[in-house]
């Protein structure tokens, strides 16, 4: 039987491996075939770009090796990490998600290719800031990263992940985060890809009461970028703030499937998802919020704002609120708009050329999320590129 893979500009773009061989290799790693559009979670998202990579694992240096860890951060050995591993994935019902399966399946091979296939950190006290570059460079194949963060009671950390690619390859990144009571984590992710590159980023978070989790994800430049943040407030009473920006132009596809569940009362969620789609870019957002009966007093707000810059771009956005508790405040909204003609004219009437005015307005649209990235991001070139600052 010949596997039929839809023709894409990425198919076989790398070292000549056929798309079907790559699809078979990925399926064998994950122990499950590539997702397809008959699956509800992948309805708008064609993973075909993944089949453009070479079927091999990329060997990468330990991203932590070059880092001097701030006080309060401790690297856990695989043995020390093992009791924690899988907890957050199980709690957020993430284990069967294809990107998680792929990441797990790639671990055996990655262990050989990478000196450290697991980045496990325990945070105690106020640990300050850390940046983790996760760069696949221009190496062909699949780069796999696995991150575990245990933030102890009352501890604080600001962490910026920088997944990046400069070639036809894919990054699989699965993060597990455990926030103990009163812990505070700001987790930024500034993910900048290149033509033909793919990012599968899955982030499973379990929050104890009184903890605060702020998650800012920015992705641009990937042929395919799939973000799956999944957060469980185990007993409610925690604060979750999600900020996301995805930019897709050319024929890029950016997809965020978020899931937030309150398993107890008085939890808080403030979610803003922004997307910019130009050319034939395609943006997908699915925001699930679960408020079971036990989650009385929940306050949740979700807003999706998309900017559609071309007639051929496409945006699919869907809030998915399931509210069983009756004493809650849950708001949601979604807007899809073009650049506002009055704003453009106002800028033009001050001598600013139409294209420059459009760029200013796009930057302004993006800035609302970008300015929330951890402070270290301000010095990064990709951010300036994203802001059109050359």
């Amino acid at each position: 039987m010949v596997a039929v893979v839809p023709a894409t500009p990425y198919a076989g773009a790398a070292g000549g491996a056929s798309a079907s061989a790559t699809a078979a290799w990925l399926a064998s790693l994950a122990g499950a075939p590539l997702p397809n559009r008959r699956q509800e979670d992948w309805r708008f998202t064609d993973p075909a770009a993944l089949t453009g990579i070479d079927p091999q694992l990329i060997g990468l240096a330990d991203p932590l090796a070059a880092q001097e860890l701030p006080d309060g951060l401790e690297c856990l050995s695989p043995a020390a990490a093992s009791p924690w591993l899988g907890q957050a994935l199980a709690a957020t019902t993430s284990l069967e998600h294809w990107p998680v399966l792929l990441n797990a399946g790639a671990s055996a091979g990655a262990a050989a290719a990478q000196p450290t296939s697991l980045l496990a950190l325990r945070v105690s006290g106020a640990a300050g800031r850390l940046q983790l570059p996760l760069d696949a460079g221009d190496q062909p194949g699949l780069a796999r990263f696995r991150l575990l963060l245990v933030v102890e009671a009352g501890a604080q950390l600001e962490l910026l992940l920088q997944p990046s690619s400069g070639g036809v390859n894919a990054i699989s990144l699965v993060s597990e985060v455990i926030l103990e009571p009163g812990a505070e984590l700001t987790l930024g992710s500034l993910a900048i890809g290149a033509a033909g590159s793919c990012l599968l980023q899955h982030t499973a978070v379990v929050q104890a009461p009184g903890s605060r989790f702020e998650h800012i994800t920015v992705s641009a430049g990937w042929a395919l970028a799939r973000q799956e943040p999944r957060i469980l407030q185990r007993q409610g009473g925690a604060c979750t703030r999600l900020r996301a920006l995805q930019v897709c132009c050319d024929r890029q596809l950016a997809d965020t499937h978020s899931w937030v569940c309150f398993d107890g009362p008085d939890g808080e969620l403030d979610q803003l998802h922004k997307a910019v789609a130009d050319d034939q870019g395609r943006s997908v957002f699915n925001g699930a919020v679960r408020v079971p009966r036990a989650a009385q007093g929940t306050r949740a707000a979700q807003l999706s704002r998309s900017l559609l810059l071309s007639d051929r771009a496409r945006i699919d956005t869907k809030p998915e609120l399931e509210i069983l508790a009756d004493d809650v405040k849950c708001a949601h909204g979604a807007t899809v708009s073009r650049l506002q003609a009055e704003e453009l004219f106002y800028l033009q009437s001050r001598g600013i050329a139409a294209d420059q005015a459009a760029q200013l307005l796009q930057r302004a649209f993006c800035a609302e999320v970008l300015r929330d990235l951890p402070a270290g991001a301000a010095a990064l070139r990709p951010l300036h590129q994203l802001l059109g600052e050359g």
Partner: protein, 274 residues
Amino acid sequence: MICPDAPVLLEIRDLQAAVDDQPILKGVNLTIRAGEIHAVMGRNGSGKSTLSKVLAGHPAYTVTGGSVHYRGNDLLDLAPEQRARIGLFLGFQYPVEIPGVSNLEFLRVATNARRSEGGLEELDTFAFEDLVRERLEVVKMDPAFLERSVNEGFSGGEKKRNEILQMALLEPLVAILDETDSGLDIDALRIVAGGVNQLASPENATLLITHYQRLLDLITPDYVHVMAAGRILRSGGRELALELERTGYDWVDQELERFAAEGQQTGRAPLEVG
């Protein structure tokens, strides 16, 4: 200041314009020379604001006839940004809020666009900050407004001050101020009018579009024009504004009716009433 020998800055001839195929301007004639301050008055719907938007190049309006020359060159051929760069300025009746665009950056980009058109060197951030702080004085504006997004959350008065600040930075040759007095309390009106007076010079000209005499108590116009039904019905000196203040706009209706009747008798196209 009336100076008959001063160069003509703006020459509007039989200007006709429509929005959504609905004719609004039906033959406007107006000549503005350097040094002059003109006021265009008229009721809502008379075409005053349309005139200002057409001159600035708003894409929603289509010019269906006539011509506009700016310092002898065809203005209507130019994109809105080009009109601004060569020295035409429109002060908006409702300045647009642009969340996320810093006011300071906006002012700097706009100022540099105008400067480079005039062959001047662009200003870097430091040089520009010096300039903007100096010009803030013109409208007594709090520097804190520079750090905010363009007009976002500004009060009506603050928005209008921000417009005059832009005018102070761009140093236009022809400034069209569309209902700059609307929504201002008397103190804000004084400050804004004071700014306009400070910026007026023998080299530039101002076109004030307004409903009310109260702005003209503070900025003395050389010419007053009354618009109705898409045309300038009558022009005169500042006494015309005072007369309007005294008698209201009822005479305008009578005059329009008279024109309509004359048009029927003479066979000329009548002015449309309404």
